[in-house]
Amino acid sequence: MKIRRVVFIASAVSIAAGAGFTAYALLTVGDGRETNVPQPAVAGAPASITDPLARGEYLARAADCIACHTVAGKEPFAGGVAFKMPFGTIYSSNITADKETGIGAWSDDDFVRALRAGVGRSGEPLYPAFPYPSYTELSREDILAIKAYLFSVPVAHARAKANELSFPFNQRWGLSYWNALFLRKERFQSAQGKSAAWNRGAYLATALGHCNECHTPRNLLYALKHDRELAGEVLQGWKAYNITSDKMYGIGSWTDQQLSDYLSKGYANGRGAASGPMGEVVENSLQYLTQEDVAALVTYLREVRPQQGEAGSEVNDHSPLALASTADTPGADELAREDRGRQLFAGDCAGCHLWNGRGRQNEAAALLGTQAVNDPEARNFTQVILQGSQLRTAHSEGFMPSFGLAYSDAEVAALGNFVLAHFGGKQSKLTSEDIAKRRSP
């Protein structure tokens, strides 16, 4: 009899635990009730925007839905963007209100659950290429404002492309375990003792703008290393830089003006321009933030714990070779040495970029003081040379042609070694094999 009682109690406990776990899971996966509601000034769109759809649009821009859910040239939010992960390729879904191929049949709860728990309408887990680990912090009100906006954009009938993932990564149910390990399903909480601006900035950065998803390093299981917040990561050939407050490796020595310029215009005097994926972030998202919101972001970024970057990537904004150059020529010592990369720079690059590292026609073209010329691997340099760069905001239009077609791998490598040495004071050893690999990351 004793054993039966033990078994009974054990079963009861485990059933209760199971039920409790399930209840816990169900309860925290989006219900109507809010437990930790963020302060009004921290969440939501700015008070100056009153129209509900405009508020939703503002939040959708801040969350930058369009970037991942729109293929260039195709209908907005219709999905189909490819994400090449280490474990295969995932395609984003159609988030217009099409009932059959989009989210038209989704209820409010469905949508909230997707952003908070990374679960689709039918309960299937979503891959964390979709940044729900960040969106989970959003208030319900904000999520639904975004949903209302998405339901107002032109409906696109476009079926999601099938993901190309190898086993075991194509087994969605495995994500439940991943979520169990790594997903912190908590709403954003204002920090006590921090200003309203800081909290707003934190909400913008971590919940809406999900900066972490690119800028924070990931572990082997592709989860964010929260103890190294914003210390930098490499994705799809591009380096998302260290944007902690570290003075040497991060943005600690940037002025407030430089930071807010970079965020709102995409470039800053003395710090260069955003290219590639970050250029798109500025174009699609950050340029639409209000001045107050940009200032809040700056406030937050200033206090992100400093983190060291990769050895050798300290930003040097007083590279001797650049300082020895005038606008139009390098110094005599440098001239005396033959350099293939320098010869290429003289012909194709100096016209915009100048030998002293300041932009010629445009501050956006400045190279001195940028992280790109201080990364010894010259990752972003390579991508910009191969693909070109274009930045179009309400303020300005910057354009750099791509040299990938006509330049050989050896030429790109030689140019990279020159640029890093001249503007960053860095000795890099790029080879043509390095460049060849990066042509198709």
Partner: protein
């Protein structure tokens, strides 16, 4: 004393209204037009002269005004190659004018007066300007001089023999008068039917290196006017949207956003054919608005009939064609038997050359003013007769109702001389479409660099398959060569100029007529019909490909025979003294017999030689290179020797050799237009790489003294540099390059 009255048109132009029907509008512009007045230049330069000003115009080529200016009318385009200077030199020499009083303007389109006698039409090309004008311009000047002398004799009542003429002044005992002072009286004299030309020993201008170009100043202060600059009141600028693929046509057009751009006035559609684009043009009051409007067009293209092959497929097709029999362009001896002989060594080689763009600094453009029953065009006009008749056909008017005003061209290299008149017809059809919508102002079509690079009409891609045989002594005894290339002239109204028995001579020039004594020589040609990439003559035409291949092949033969490449060539040029002479001159001046100075540690140095005749001019070049351990290299020096007959303007000849080498080197190092699925991959200078100053070698030019009739220099340096450099690279590294551009072939 030569008697050259036969071939010139001596009609006293002062007795007929020179600008009949033109109403005093400007011809072209010469130095001295102040920029602020440019907008009105066209209306004012005609009436710059007071109503009673007298023009003494004894023939179609010269006009002397009472203000003592001598205006030379040039039937040839000035596109940098120095024609204005050369033609003026010839005329001014015989006229005994002062060089400083001579100005040049472009001739109107009139084939009866301004025909290029070597081409049969009014056009500039084939390096024929000086050759076909040599006697004509001299006679024109001599005739004017004779009439001035007659006028002075009459005025002073002295004999003609007692009058001397020097630098714009006539003198007799106790008398002197300037050209301007005698102009009115000279106009009343009868035009001589025969004129005496100077003995070369009396030349004061011809052959003098110190003569400045006629355009040496206006091109340094912003006053030189190109088509890009020319303006007329109320003019609109048209920027066109072209399809990505040749043969595509617009299917659906949304011009709403384009029309909303401020200053955009109209949007029109134009229809092309297999020789030119169909597309949409935006017309606006200024260039930026037109371009912004064009960029805002939303066009869906119908590509069902478009050309969709890429460079890879074209090459594969050419390789296949080269392995089959072609049409025989030259057949000496019996190559098959020679190849089969015992103890011959064979060399088999295949060469690939890409499409090349002309890429002049001034992209294609032209200004059209339609009128009832005709039109006027301002253009860096290179192909008057052809363009005139094509435009007349489009407008359904007589050819003489199409007036073409010749301005400077900012480079052309052949692009503006298109038998299909593509960019002109595009401009006229845009103007026509605008006219039908009530927009009847002057319209300037401006292609952006992207349209220009992607606009087709390239130097064709060439594929060569060659087989050479050397006998036991290393002598070249047989040469079999199959060329595969599109014809640049087939299907145009000028076909019969070059195509005989199905063979386009322009595709095999330099090979079929090679000067080397090879006892067994067979040159075949296959011309594909299915490659719809538009092609055109590119500076030096077929020589640009064939000189490269033949001079590298000869070098390969010399290497196989273990012979000095200079001596090896020399031995085969016994019947070609002019070629031998330039070869010797280049080798001597370059110090061929001395060893080449070695480079720094890790560097290899080499030198190579090439010699070729094109358009009756012989050029030899010797290139010296330095190759680094990573395969990058620099061309350090080129020694160039040229025989172009009588050197009319030695400094222009030097400049054309230097410039032709720069142009040819750009192509050799970097030049390639490639296609993928029918789309041209290059659009601007980051993809079609030009030569920059830091790649330019030192060029030493040596002119062979000659009293023969002048031949051309505009193109003749171009085809020789690529083989000279490739041969030098072989000498330095032992690596033989058979594909252009050289690019980074040494690095792999």
């Amino acid at each position: 004393m030569s008697d050259s009255a036969r071939d010139i048109f001596i009609v006293n132009e002062s007795r007929r209204r020179f600008l009949e029907g033109m109403g005093g509008l400007a011809l072209a512009v010469y130095a001295g037009v102040a920029p602020a007045e440019q907008n009105r230049a066209t209306l004012s330069s005609g009436d710059k002269k007071p109503a009673e000003a007298v023009n003494f115009a004894p023939n179609a080529f010269v006009r002397i005004a009472s203000d003592n200016t001598v205006t030379v009318v040039s039937k040839h385009l000035e596109m940098g190659q120095g024609t204005y200077t050369g033609l003026a030199t010839l005329l001014a020499e015989e006229l005994d004018a002062d060089w400083e009083q001579v100005h040049v303007e472009g001739a109107p389109a009139d084939v009866t007066r301004y025909k290029n006698s070597l081409l049969g039409i009014q056009a500039t090309g084939g390096s024929t300007a000086m050759a076909n004008s040599f006697e004509q311009m001299r006679s024109a000047g001599a005739a004017a001089r004779a009439m001035l002398v007659a006028a002075a004799a009459q005025e002073w009542k002295v004999s003609r023999d007692s009058i001397t003429v020097e630098r714009g002044w006539l003198y007799a005992k106790g008398h002197k008068a300037s050209f301007g002072q005698l102009a009115a009286k000279a106009a009343q004299q009868s035009v001589p039917q025969r004129v005496a030309l100077k003995d070369p020993k009396d030349f004061k201008l011809i052959g003098k290196p110190a003569l400045h170009r006629k355009d040496y100043a206006d091109k340094t202060n912003g006053t030189a006017v190109f088509t890009q600059d020319y303006k007329l009141p109320d003019m609109l600028v048209a920027v066109a949207a072209h399809p990505k693929r040749f043969g595509a046509v617009p299917m659906k057009v949304n011009a709403e956003k384009a029309r909303a751009v401020p200053n955009v006035v109209e949007v029109v559609q134009f229809s092309g054919d297999r020789t030119r684009f169909s597309g949409i043009a935006v017309l606006a009051r200024n260039t930026w608005a037109a371009r912004s409007g064009r960029d805002a067009l939303e066009i869906d293209w119908d590509e069902s009939q478009a050309f969709k092959l890429g460079s890879a497929e074209i090459l594969a097709q050419y390789k296949d064609m080269a392995s089959k029999a072609g049409l025989v362009a030259r057949n000496e001896g019996d190559t098959d038997t020679a190849f089969a002989a015992h103890n011959v060594r064979l060399i088999e080689a295949e060469y690939e050359l890409p499409y090349l763009a002309h890429a002049p600094m001034e992209p294609m453009n032209c200004l059209v003013q339609l009128r009832e029953g005709g039109c006027e065009i301002w253009n860096g006009e290179q192909f008057q007769t052809g363009d005139q008749s094509a435009i007349a056909a489009m407008l359904k008017v007589p050819a003489d109702r199409v007036a073409l005003h010749q301005l400077y061209a900012g480079g052309s290299f052949g692009r503006r001389a298109n038998p299909s008149s593509d960019y002109l017809l595009e401009a006229v059809s845009i103007a026509k479409a605008a006219w039908d919508k009530g927009v009847r102002v002057p319209i300037k079509l401006m292609w952006t660099r992207e349209e220009d690079t992607r606009g087709g009409y390239y130097r064709p891609a060439f594929y060569h398959k060659a087989k050479l045989a050397l006998d036991g002594d290393g002598k070249l005894v047989a040469w079999q060569h199959h060329v595969v290339a599109q014809s640049i002239i087939k299907g145009t109204s000028f076909e019969s100029f070059a195509i005989k028995n199905g063979i386009d001579g322009l595709s095999v020039e330099g090979l079929a007529d090679m000067a080397y004594e090879v006892p067994n020589l067979r040159v075949e040609l296959t011309t594909p019909d299915n490659i719809r990439v538009p092609v055109l003559s590119w500076r030096s035409v077929g020589h640009s490909s064939n000189a490269f291949v033949s001079e590298v092949l000869v070098d390969e033969a010399a290497a196989a025979a273990r012979r000095d490449p200079y001596q090896y060539r020399r031995d085969m040029l016994r019947q070609a003294p002019r070629l031998k002479a330039v070869l010797d001159l280049a080798a001597t001046k370059a110090g061929w017999e001395r060893p080449l100075k070695s480079g720094a540690a890790g560097e290899k140095r080499g030198r190579g030689i090439a010699v070729h005749e094109a358009f009756n001019t012989c050029v030899a070049q010797l290139a010296e290179v330095t190759v680094k351990s990573d395969g990058s290299f620099k061309v350090d020096r080129v020694v160039c020797a040229v025989d172009c007959g009588l050197a009319i303007n030695p400094d222009v000849i030097v400049a054309q050799m230097q410039g032709g080498i720069g142009f040819g080197l750009a192509a050799a190092l970097h030049g390639a237009i490639t296609l993928k699925d029918g789309v041209v991959e290059q659009s601007n200078f980051h993809e079609y790489i030009p030569l920059r100053i830091n790649e330019m070698p030192v060029v030493d030019v040596h002119i062979v003294p000659s009293a023969e009739k002048p031949t051309g220099v505009g193109e003749t340096a171009v085809p020789v540099i690529a083989p000279a450099v490739v041969n030098a690279l072989y000498n330095a590294t032992g690596k033989r390059i058979r594909k252009l551009p050289i690019a980074d072939q040494l690095s792999s």
